[in-house]
């Protein structure tokens, strides 16, 4: 079953298509004695303009590959990728912003200069830079740290710097690749609130990759559940949360239902992935 291809009827029939994956697969070619790896697909995905979409799946299922293909960071082996009606080809389209799991803040620049990085490159005039960076830092709660260097900040704050750096470019599609994966559970919930605020304010479409069920259930309009490698969509869960929401939603009755449904699919897949990685470690090397 493919996400978005079905089960999206009813109340949002007017939703406009924003980005699309059609029959996308990704096979990593063989390198130095290793077999080729079929990492992803085939998958179809229709992202609607302005929605919050999460992808959950067991580790190693190709979630991040999906994001990088959509971003234009990796070419698909088969299938087509488009953003705002134009095919994505070989480079990241204008209007797409990506925040990565790894800390990608620049340690050689102050928080302010980190945030201003993309605008300076683009030759935006200094008053406009001043305005947009100040705004983004204030929004991310970094105003008091603008002169600090990333090394002086906590992991959560550094990830905020990366988000601010992406935000100032005013992306219309924001791709988040497990941005809170390295943070502790409480900080993650709070960062989730930040992302919801950001989503409402910018009106951007958000695709979030995560392995945390509660995170996906709490933040998203729709959640795509992926299988073990090669990753495909197994189910698509519509949460029907109101637009104005935050982390307190975890205490609502519907929340338990959503996470239960996600876990129902994921339990078996996670077990498979566990076995897969064991097998890969034992016999992944091709006998040349």
């Amino acid at each position: 079953m493919n996400a978005g291809a079905s089960g999206n009827g009813g109340g949002r029939a007017a939703a406009e298509l924003h980005a699309e994956l059609g029959g996308v697969t990704r096979v990593y070619p063989a390198v130095a004695g290793y077999r080729p790896v079929h990492a992803l697909g085939p998958v179809d995905l229709d992202l609607r303009r302005g929605e919050f979409f999460s992808v959950v799946g067991p580790s190693g299922c190709g979630k991040s590959t999906l994001l990088e293909v959509l971003a234009g960071l990796q070419p698909p082996s088969e299938g087509k990728v488009s953003f705002e009606g134009k095919p994505v080809h070989g480079q990241v389209p204008e209007g797409v912003g990506v925040v990565f799991q790894e800390d990608a803040s620049f340690p050689w620049l102050s928080v302010w200069d980190n945030a201003a990085f993309g605008l300076r490159r683009a030759g935006v005039d200094s008053a406009e830079i001043e305005r947009r960076v100040g705004d983004a830092l204030a929004f991310m709660g970094l105003k008091d740290f603008q002169r600090a260097y990333p090394a002086q900040l906590s992991g959560g704050m550094r990830q905020r710097v990366c988000i601010a750096r992406t935000l100032v470019l005013q992306p219309r599609l924001i791709l988040l690749d497990e941005p809170f994966g390295a943070l502790d559970a409480q900080t993650r919930l709070l960062m989730g609130d930040e992302v919801l605020r950001l989503w409402r304010r910018t009106g951007a479409t958000i695709l979030l990759i995560t392995h945390a069920l509660d995170e996906a259930a709490m933040l998203s309009d729709r959640v795509g559940v992926m299988s073990a490698r090669p990753g495909r969509f197994l189910d698509l869960v519509e949460t029907k949360w109101p637009k104005e929401r935050d982390s307190t939603i975890v205490s609502e009755a519907g929340f338990g239902e959503v996470t239960a449904r996600l876990w129902h699919h994921l339990r078996g897949e996670s077990l498979k992935a566990l076995g897969q990685s064991g097998a890969a470690a034992a016999g992944g090397r091709a006998e040349a």
């Binding site: 990088e68 971003a71 234009g72 960071l73 480079q91 990241v92 204008e94 797409v96 912003g97 990506v98 990565f100 790894e102 800390d103 990608a104 620049f106 340690p107 050689w108 990085f117 993309g118 490159r121 260097y149 090394a151 002086q152 992406t166």
Partner: protein, 250 residues
């Protein structure tokens, strides 16, 4: 200065004082060693008289030339080799052997080719330093986080801009280590060459003073070399610490 800094200074002062007493009381014979205070006065006199100025200028010029050329060439070489993994894997055993073989033995060959000019001296300093810079550059580029490459592509940077804005600053701490080694090795290469065979320069002047039983000049010049090298080292160390502090916090 930190507490450790003060202790270090006290230890060094105590060592100098010990040497001073040992020589003054005759436990170390006067013809072997000068008391440090006399080394210093001899150095001040030597500098005031200006007799060593020519040698000093020559040596520092050679070190400077060797340093600049080795840093530039080593960096360029490192970047080039890093781009071609196959070349790199073939060269690795040679890099690992480079500082293990006594290649300064070929200094006389250089003299035979270029005559007794400054060029063989500069070349020896260059040869000592260039590979250290090259290795440091490769190590630095290895440790540039992969995610920065993705960030660069998100910003639609071309290769040159990625190198300039991402790889260069991200590799900076390693490049700095390379620079520090280059300073030390340029000095070692140049002064050792001058010592072996040269018409002038600090190394030559020290060897000459030794053969001439002129301990005063010899120790004064040794002290000069030590002061210059240690001062440079301390400056670079301080600069590096400030850089690393920003990098790693605290």
């Amino acid at each position: 200065m930190s507490r450790i800094g003060w202790i270090r200074l006290a230890v060094l002062a105590a060592l100098v004082a010990l040497l001073e007493t040992l020589v003054r009381t005759g436990i170390i014979p006067y013809k072997t060693m000068l008391p440090p205070s006399e080394m210093l006065t001899a150095l001040v006199r030597l500098l005031a008289a200006g007799t060593a100025t020519r040698d000093i200028v020559q040596t520092l010029t050679c070190v400077g030339a060797a340093l600049v050329s080795s840093v530039v060439a080593g960096f360029g070489l490192g970047v080039a080799i890093h781009r071609f993994p196959r070349v790199r894997r073939a060269l690795e055993p040679f890099f690992a052997t480079y500082y293990a073989v006594p290649f300064f033995i070929f200094y006389p060959v250089l003299i035979a080719i270029f005559d007794l000019s400054l060029l063989p001296i500069i070349l020896m300093g260059f040869a000592f330093a260039v590979i250290a810079m090259c290795i440091a550059t490769i190590n630095g580029l290895d440790r540039v986080p992969r995610v920065l490459g993705k960030v660069a592509r998100m910003h639609r940077m071309r290769e040159f801009e990625t190198a300039l804005r991402m790889k260069l600053p991200a590799a900076a701490p390693h490049l700095f280590t390379g620079l520090k080694l280059c300073v030390a090795y340029s000095f070692i290469g140049v002064i050792a060459s001058e010592f072996i065979l040269a018409p002038s320069g600090l190394g030559h002047a020290i060897a000459y003073a030794y053969n001439d039983f002129d301990n005063r000049t010899m120790y004064a010049l040794m002290l000069f070399v030590m002061i210059v090298v240690v001062t440079l080292n301390m400056l670079l160390h301080g600069w590096e610490q400030r850089l690393l502090k920003r990098w790693h916090g605290r």
